[in-house]
Symmetry: C2
Subunit: 402 residues, 2 copies
Amino acid sequence: MDKFGLICSLCSRKIPFALEGKCTCGGTWLVEYDLQRAALTFTKKRLRARPASMWKYHELLPIAKLSSIISLGEGSTPLVRLTEWEKKLPLGGLYVKREEQNPTGSFKARGFASALTLINESGIKKVALPSNGNAAAALSAYASRAGMEAYVFLPADCPGLIIEECVNYGAHTYRVDGLIHDAGAIVEEGKLEQGWYNVGTMREPGRVEGKKTMGFELAEQLDWTLPDVIVYPAGGGSGLIGLWRAFHQLLAMGLVTGALPRFVAVQEDGCTPIVSAFWQHAQPETLPAGSPMPTGMRVPRPPNRNLIVSILRETKGTAIAVTREEIHAATAAMGLCGISSSPEGAATWAGLQRLIDSGWILGQDKVVLFNTSHAMKYTLYPTKLQLPLIKSYQDFKSIHSP
Amino acid sequence: MDKFGLICSLCSRKIPFALEGKCTCGGTWLVEYDLQRAALTFTKKRLRARPASMWKYHELLPIAKLSSIISLGEGSTPLVRLTEWEKKLPLGGLYVKREEQNPTGSFKARGFASALTLINESGIKKVALPSNGNAAAALSAYASRAGMEAYVFLPADCPGLIIEECVNYGAHTYRVDGLIHDAGAIVEEGKLEQGWYNVGTMREPGRVEGKKTMGFELAEQLDWTLPDVIVYPAGGGSGLIGLWRAFHQLLAMGLVTGALPRFVAVQEDGCTPIVSAFWQHAQPETLPAGSPMPTGMRVPRPPNRNLIVSILRETKGTAIAVTREEIHAATAAMGLCGISSSPEGAATWAGLQRLIDSGWILGQDKVVLFNTSHAMKYTLYPTKLQLPLIKSYQDFKSIHSP
């Protein structure tokens, strides 16, 4: 094989690398590498001497040449150990991976740094995205950095600061009267006519690959060991897919040993498609009014639900829903540790408490929580910007003047 | 000498290390190290192999033992090169040091990580601070991390998000009807009675030492060279003092060679004590109403003005004031580079344009701008918290129940 190619998560078919999201069988295209070749230079010693950046792991990122990299300083986020809480709970280890310290204030920066590097290598200059907020902000920033035009479509109740952030980065920004899948329908309807490349969740392989670097970093920060449990807030769930790929690659290359961490997907009550699928509960057709909060976890129809559930099962993990009240209490508890958490990050803390209470997480477990985004992004005040509110692609066309 | 001690910036008197800010002669206590001893392990090769953190530079930080470190993941912030603008302006190099990617969203994290490590080593458990905002947020977070009690006093017009941040970190938070020096007067008046350790600007040597790591990092990121020009937003100005100390230490150890960068201090029109002192202009007695913005640059009486002016002269630097309109235009320009800048960071961009126009910065110069804080912190919306507004220490006492 080449340095890298694609393999289907479901039927295992292999094809050369391409900007494709889904196999015809419905499976997800994942990037597969020539790990023996990568292992020649992807060594603990060499990695330690490389500058702090997610690009230090470039052998396992699907880019053609290092000179194409579109970067704003992503990756190399801190892993903070909470020793006081380890004693109190108790736990064998408790860490927070501070993904909010990325550019654009969220882990989404990693995915768009890699995706836009690939897309830019392909000569595409116009990208579009439905998003709950953080992905849109990251796309907006990286598109400007790459000299691309970005079109982002956000639910109308997206926090004002995130909307303003997209505008500040120069993106064409639209508020959509609906949820993230309604925004997605607009992008799909308009993509041919507008010449948009849809960079939505799992539409192409680059974003998951960038998120994968969280897993490499975590292993390196833990001196090439893996924790027992990963607690991750799940919306589209591609962060979990990235971590799962990263750990498998490290195991295959012998850089870590032992079992995969048990993966826990956390969602907020009111929108729990992954939790429902994991526990084989019926999923409500509509979301209850006013619930859940407009965060990155509010994704009623995750395009890779089956793959995520299979990862949870493979790793002997679980899925759990927490309440808004638990999230608020967790924000306060993390604040008193000196850590400002987004609702998504706080949800992992809330999930942890539940799983300790139920006995699923044990006293010797080493646990890593992911604070995926910056707290301030979720300040709920109405933006003062007079942005148009649209319901359909027709609405978009009626107001957009290129 | 010991591993480190204090030296007065004015009379050069030396004393053993202590938590002191000012010499009796009025000079500033600076930490002096046994550089020959430090150089045994502070080597390029060893530094490269240490984990990403400001603590990799520990030989030149005044801490007694590594196990005392109070950390939330500070330092190792990205240095982003803006190649498009280098061609456009032109410049020999243009970089933005993204200090907003620190914990608590500003460079202040570095100073409080080191200061609270020292203060904690001394057994002090109650700290107080007058601040324009970012320093208070950082103190609040690090105090909680260290198990200390923090009291922070902010001008009443401090942005709501920063006020909320301090409260979220568990600090006793007070809005003061006045400016930062009015808040400082309250801390000074109450410190004996309340048992507060005043950790305000240049009250102790730890904060400047932590900020110094920005300089070490910058040199390492530029492959152990120094830029020609540093543009830095100046309030209290201790960031500049830290950078100046860092570069002198690196030069003395032979880790870099050549001239010091020319240091530029940028302030906003309406509060320009450093610019006025540098140009020997009369300084207005009061601030014009509504001007300047409530940012970290609004410090009418910087306690180390003379030292800062002498640093600007020594480095053949300058001081410049920019307008609010220039700052807003700079925010937009940096946004289109994919960088979300605070007003302070945008002020450095505005200052750069001015100094290119005037011919002070030349086409071959390699320039570094410091984006000292997170853009979102300066969102001006009133906080919903019902915090007391005080005018005096008596007001504080009348409402504070310990």
